[in-house]
Symmetry: D2
Subunit: 189 residues, 4 copies
């Protein structure tokens, strides 16, 4: 890919509540992205049933197939997620469990960026390293640096408007997405 | 607790399919347990809805409260789980996410044993270390050694009968439960 | 152990430089500890040679034997360490590698507390979870909560005096050591 | 890079003893590598002193500078390492700690492959995921699949000859190196 080629990125959101801090970040990514970058939200992980191999035997649920198709068509995936209990939210992991069972798994070779946050200072770091280990199995190409971990996230977003209000955070995410865009263009065939 | 005091342990199962290898292990634990040990299965993690703070605001779902009550009354918890994508199954993590939100969290100070397995040789090891990190947040007392990781689990259980067929595995789990029992008696107030 | 029994704790320090922030924390622990708690620094991990099984075959180095003896005699171990490259410092891990090879490994069943810090906000969290995994092999009983992760450590210690200058940090570590003391008394035979 | 361009890879070995199983694997990599692949061993991590910022202030030790130069000139790095105490050997981590302090860190953007093994079945998996987390800080591009974890390594190598004796292991590593070579050519600028 050439350095200015348009990129289509999709966002996988790890939380479900309406006033989620992370939903606000996810919705605002397009507005803080660099040029030539289109960012679209994937469907909700809440629409995907509990993973059960007996259910899978009857066919993959429609929301799983839809999400898989959107990931496949995209140039890269941005995971935006809170940390629950020092790890990945169960609802997000459950979606990944379904996606991983597809014969033609959508994450294979796909560039992935991770964004987490928390009201406290550790900012979801623990969830990110668990996600990185999960992504090894999925054979994804997880971007390294700069990592985005938003401490004090509750003071930096407007959950009603679905936007980031902290200018430093906006600039940092713009820098992250710019570097991730270069990575995507570098590693894509 | 004195060394022969009766123990009541509960089992948290991480998978949902009917012919689950891990369900077979879970069901057989009572039969391979040492004396003075009562082992009961908790309700299915499949009965617990996706964690959503908006749902929580309307009240904890009944299966969460029931599971929490059973864990509280027990002397210890045995988690029996497969590994999905190098980590904890989403459905299991989702149950833990709900349990952790209770004002009086049932895992605090509770002795916990981990049992995993897989058809391959790594035997769920990766899921166990992620679970251990999760259990730090839950403030549980996770037992260390001997660790139970059942490689080639598909050849060692009878999923119809719900039993372990491999004698060495039975003996090893008996040893694990005996050591875990001593640990429970040692650390319980 | 009764609740007021005197405890003898030893400190394992993970860094070597003279003006180390973590050395300042380690040296100050006695002064912030609760009553009936004696805290002594172990020898330096810098005195222990690179682990090499060929060297071991000729006999364990004296500083390893000395450190092992001191850990065995103690009621618990406090590890105070920086994070290097998102993990445990090599010099600290090297000391643990030697200690683990002893026929009568000193960490087995030993209560362990972890204290980390960093100038940034993540505060050594990543090193702590790696240490916890290592401690599973060593069969140690690692204390859970409250965890001590000192963000902005460079502004909270006096490296010349070897002391903590931040009152909130002193109070937090006092609370940690008090809770750890209760844990040690609870789990010790 | 074109698909057949010659690759120069260097090997970082994590153990020191002369009859090391992993040394045998490291020495044999050239003989099992695909065409157009030159594989050279880096200097021993045993020649690198304990990391100490006070020592660094006086200048980086020669073996660190030499290793860094060799990594920089290479197209990729293969880490071959045992697992000690469920993590990375201290001696290997210590070498990485030094390399990471260089102003122009040699791992940044560098493709890295991981090879581990153990006499038991878990085969060093735990060390690999800790290494992957470390490599995030180092900003390296760690190859994903197929992962090489050699169970029963003591029965699959000749430590005197420095060779792999098991044909399946040879073929598997050949496949790994072939896929890693494609990855290196894909991501290198």
């Amino acid at each position: 890919m050439s350095e200015n080629q348009e990129l289509n990125l999709v966002v996988l959101l790890g939380s479900l509540r309406k006033q989620s801090f992370h939903a606000a970040v996810a919705k605002s990514l397009q507005s803080v992205a660099p040029a030539n970058t289109n960012i679209t939200l994937l469907g909700s992980v809440g629409d995907i049933p509990h993973y059960n191999a007996d259910v899978q035997a009857d066919g993959f649920p429609a929301p799983v197939l839809e999400m898989a198709g959107a990931i496949k068509s995209a140039d890269g995936v941005i995971v935006v997620t809170p940390e629950y209990n020092y790890s990945v939210p169960g609802v997000l992991k459950n979606a990944l469990d379904w996606l991983s069972r597809l014969p033609d798994t959508p994450f294979a070779g796909k560039p992935v960026s991770l964004i987490s946050g928390s009201p406290g200072p550790i900012a979801g770091a623990r969830a990110q390293y668990h996600l990185r280990q999960i992504m090894v199995f999925l054979d994804a190409l997880v971007f390294t640096k700069p990592e985005v971990m938003i401490g004090g996230i509750n003071t930096k977003v407007d959950t009603e408007a679905g936007s980031i209000t902290d200018e430093q955070t906006k600039a940092f995410i713009n820098g992250h997405l710019t570097a991730f865009g270069s990575f995507v263009r570098r590693v894509s065939l």
